[in-house]
Symmetry: C2
Subunit: 601 residues, 2 copies
């Protein structure tokens, strides 16, 4: 029996006490948002996911989707749960009210929604998450007739969305895609090509599926600069014949729009989430955004999905932790090394063993630290839309910087944490009954999709650091060094502030090294990127723990805040020291890998 | 299509050039063993496993075993492959010729056999591995009538063996087992109780299954000191009525010996290997070894299985590496950051990317380093039987020290490496077609069974280090410090010798810290045990790489030896620095975990 208690309390602490986000959110135009309403939202979604999503998660893993003659059949329970979500509005919280959404701030959908959703049912959660991503690109960049026609359906999640990028020979290197879009006289396009690894590319959950497809127009420039973005629905409107979609009703044709699904991958986890091969054959579509400007638009959606993927790391790590802890509480083996603790039983509870505590705290502390950084990052998603240019510029700079770290570091930690929780449970962790082995399989994809974590690291080290003349990094270092300075004279902050200071100093030195060496030899920079990204992630988490400690020190004496201070100590004692190793590895450079004789791999 | 090339060449290099084991093995009574014969053995087993085991590995995962009314059905292909192994002698290489075995040295079975076997079919390999373990305990400690009766069948592997330890409430803490063995008048015992997690506890592959069962006799002392070991066959001899088994034929009764299987766990991997709940109800068995001396005997088998489990880490990591590499060789994405490398193609092969090389080398270098340490450890298994007391004492001391490290560090690295190889392949790594996702699931159990890796670490730090007044460690440090001393003046050894020296110095300091602090507060020692074990593993692998470098430097100029030197550099640049983090974590002590408020987990 898998259990889950959504961490509403921890989010209340982060949103209200650590980041004090309500005033900021209200100034951004959400005047009705206060902390009571936020709690109500979180509790509502917590109830929905634990009542309707969690109970079918193991079933989804066991039954999975069924591919038959081009169609994908989802378990009936998944269709039902999805439509319960549509009816109650939970699948489109951040979409505008005019399009049938809840119209609440983006941070809620990007952080709390994503965590509870992926924890309780990762396979189901990706469908509305993708749909929200399509909604955002469409409403921001689509022509009026496209927005008017599609946004109300996508905004309510009655129609679902996908992103179609990868082709068999073109994954990371999208410049090589060969899907073609031929302009038609009426302004629409005829799209043809094959896309692979398309999550929910085909399914029977919604009435229509709206694909965002990367394709090249005839005579487009080589590489990524020749790519445009197209909206291609599975079913065309029955009333439509030519031209725009203005004034046309949402009733759909019976025959598909030249789109077929020729298979779904058998994979290690996420069995209830189809991963499709989708073929477009003279499918009618409309361009979204400017010609040859498809990559930046798709990247807007991709970046949102990268944050969503980071949240999968936290979500699955948290539910794994809770189930491991619940198992620990019932398990008695051996005795406290300092002497029998519980003479009424033949053995003590295994929480007496330091190594069991070490594992549980690695999980708990990583989850809580990541949740703090996620909360900050979520707020940035609302702040980039601020009418105050200074605020939006700063938010965009930090968001650019944090996105690859949230994606890569959270999913690396997520996979490690689920493994640690499995380890806590011993043989039971490996058995299907207890659920953790499913989390272990499901969470593993998060390190791969939306750009592998190696690609995230290259994005950080090779692009985000130097972008805008280094402004992204400066926007972080200003408040960070000020925080360190402000706390330098506070004795009880020293144990947190000092290692944070060391970490920031180390990060600055490594950044300089990466940039200066990278100028003459880009291999140096690329060789260190993954370790640099992890180092950076550690420093951000150190900042989070120092901030949490600051807030909690003022309220010492109640278990909640005392535990936060203890968690912070554990972080600096047992997690943060990995920066020592990472720094040394980065400094060793690229030679030991690039000089390796190629024929001897 | 999963590929595999058994690393025979690497073993030849290790056995013949790095460790020069033939003279030692010949002196131990295997006069006919020379390097040609050893190669022939390795190639024979390589052929057998790649021809008969590898082709059914994915099938075994997909079909799995079937539990029905107390019986376990294995896939027919598994039964056939097993019997091909019996017929050709490959399942009992280390058993004595008089019992139908090949009679070759133990190191072959423990190292090379184990690696190729687990790589090609981990689920099948555990059956003969367990059987060999039962054979060893039986022949060394069993009464003559038991040996005469069972050893020829177990030695040929026509009958299989199991180890029955765990009970629902007693896993790590075996002192709490409640299985009972009541003495019968004829010297046999009546065994009753329930055991769980029994690998191949029931199956249809062999005619009989011989269980080694831990149980307590009436009025036995509390805890582990009251445990005895019993041999309990699934089927009793049809001719037997009472007393010993002397002179009785191997024809078996039709009815089972009070043994039933009430279920098999559904689990994440190893689907073709049953994990059974086994009930004994007045089952007839015979005691093996002295009364109340069951634990040391079971530990003899357990220690062999711990080494075998460590080899699973290497085996699965090696086959994952080979398949990731094969995928890499066909994959083109992006361009070399130093400029286009292959203008004839639209993209360069991904081996041009430093991060891809980093991942592949982490896999390759860890595999080769572990294989070296495994080779040394395997030799110790033969040396402990030496008639030269000095040699056997030294070998036993080193074996005691290495066993927890081989088990924990190799399986930790194995799981990490398989994950890294999956990462190299991106989305393909997550799909079933390519095989690596099965390795990812299968290898994960290796960190759990035969004592979790946390237990291994406690065994190392809490027992093996201080055992025999610290003699185990001294037997390692003598040759190790001599090696460092001998190479101090050799300039081209400096890059390997110097970090090795630092590592050994660090290990000595940490050992002193653990022991001194541990005396007053055992929590300190237990809190650092896992990191200490990993630190120790790193130092042993550093020793291996320094030794390999020494051998290879003399033969520089051919790709094989040049690659070894490059691998060694990669090890010291990119893997060994993790000791910096581990040392800092150990020194931080136990307080951050033990002071954590219990109610706040």
């Amino acid at each position: 029996m898998v259990i889950y208690n959504p961490p509403v309390k921890d989010y209340e602490f982060l949103f209200n006490e650590v980041f004090d986000i309500i005033p900021t959110i209200q100034k951004l135009g959400y005047e009705e948002m206060d902390s009571d309403f936020l709690t109500m939202l979180m509790e509502g979604w917590a109830d929905h996911t634990t009542n309707f999503w969690l109970p079918i998660n193991q079933l989804g893993d066991k039954i999975g989707i069924r591919y038959e003659d081009g169609l994908i059949k989802s378990p009936k329970e998944f269709r039902d749960a999805y439509h319960k979500g549509v009816d109650s509005g939970w699948l489109s919280t951040s979409c505008k009210e005019e399009h049938g959404g809840m119209g609440v701030p983006v941070f809620f959908q990007a952080v709390t929604w994503a965590e509870f959703g992926t924890a309780t049912n990762m396979a189901l959660s990706v469908l509305p998450a993708l749909t929200t991503g399509v909604y955002e690109v469409l409403t921001e960049h689509g022509d009026e007739h496209l927005v008017d026609y599609f946004a109300p359906e996508i905004g309510k999640a009655t129609w679902a969305g996908t992103m179609c990028l990868t082709e068999p020979h073109a994954g990371t290197d999208l410049g090589m895609i060969s899907t073609k879009a031929i302009p038609r006289e009426d302004g629409s396009y005829s799209v043809s090509g094959t896309k692979i690894f398309i999550t929910y590319g085909e399914h029977d959950i919604t009435e229509n599926i709206v694909h965002l497809v990367l394709a090249k127009t005839p005579d487009a420039p080589e590489g990524t600069k020749g790519i445009s973005l197209f909206l291609v629905p599975k079913y065309l409107p029955s009333e439509w014949k030519t031209g725009t979609l203005e004034g046309i009703s949402t009733s759909l044709r019976k025959e598909v729009n030249g789109i077929s699904c020729s298979g779904s991958e058998e994979k290690m986890g996420l069995h209830a989430s189809p991963t499709c091969v989708i073929n477009f054959e003279n499918s009618i579509g409309w361009r979204v955004g400017d010609l040859h400007n498809g990559m930046p638009l798709m990247f807007q959606m991709m970046n949102r999905e990268r944050l969503a993927t980071g949240m999968m790391g936290i979500g699955l790590a948290e539910i794994a932790y809770q189930n491991a802890l619940s198992w620990v509480k019932d398990r008695r083996q051996g005795r406290d090394l300092n002497g029998i603790k519980d003479p009424n039983h033949k053995a003590d509870n295994i929480l007496v063993h330091p190594d069991v505590r070490r594992m549980l705290l690695e999980a708990k502390v990583n989850n809580e630290g990541c949740r703090a950084l996620a909360s900050w990052t979520g707020l940035l998603l609302d702040q980039i839309k601020s009418e105050d240019n200074k605020e939006s510029e700063r938010a965009q700079a930090l968001l650019d910087l944090f996105t690859p770290i949230v994606k890569a570091h959270f999913t690396d930690l997520g996979c490690e944490t689920v493994s640690t929780c499995m380890q806590v449970m011993g043989g039971a962790g490996y058995c299907s009954e207890y659920g953790v082995e499913q989390f272990y399989r499901d969470v593993r994809i998060s390190k791969i999709w939306e750009g592998t974590n190696g690609i995230q690291a290259l994005d950080l080290a090779g692009r985000k650091i130097t972008q805008n003349m280094g402004k992204n990094l400066r926007y972080l270092l200003w408040p960070l060094t000020k925080f360190i300075e402000d706390n330098r004279e506070i004795p009880e902050m020293e144990e947190f502030n000092k290692p944070l200071y060391q970490g920031v100093k180390g990060l600055q030195q490594l950044t300089l090294l990466m940039i200066s060496q990278g100028q003459t030899n880009p291999h140096f920079l690329a060789a260190g990127a993954t370790d640099y990204c992890r180092y950076f992630g550690n420093v951000l988490l150190a900042y989070m723990w120092a901030k949490i400690s600051k807030t909690s020190l003022e309220k010492r004496g109640t278990p909640f805040y005392d535990a936060k201070i203890s968690s912070s100590r554990f972080f600096f004692d047992r997690i943060f020291p990995e920066t020592l190793a990472l720094g040394a590895k980065i400094q060793s450079g690229h030679k030991s890998m690039m000089n390796y004789p190629e024929e001897m791999f």
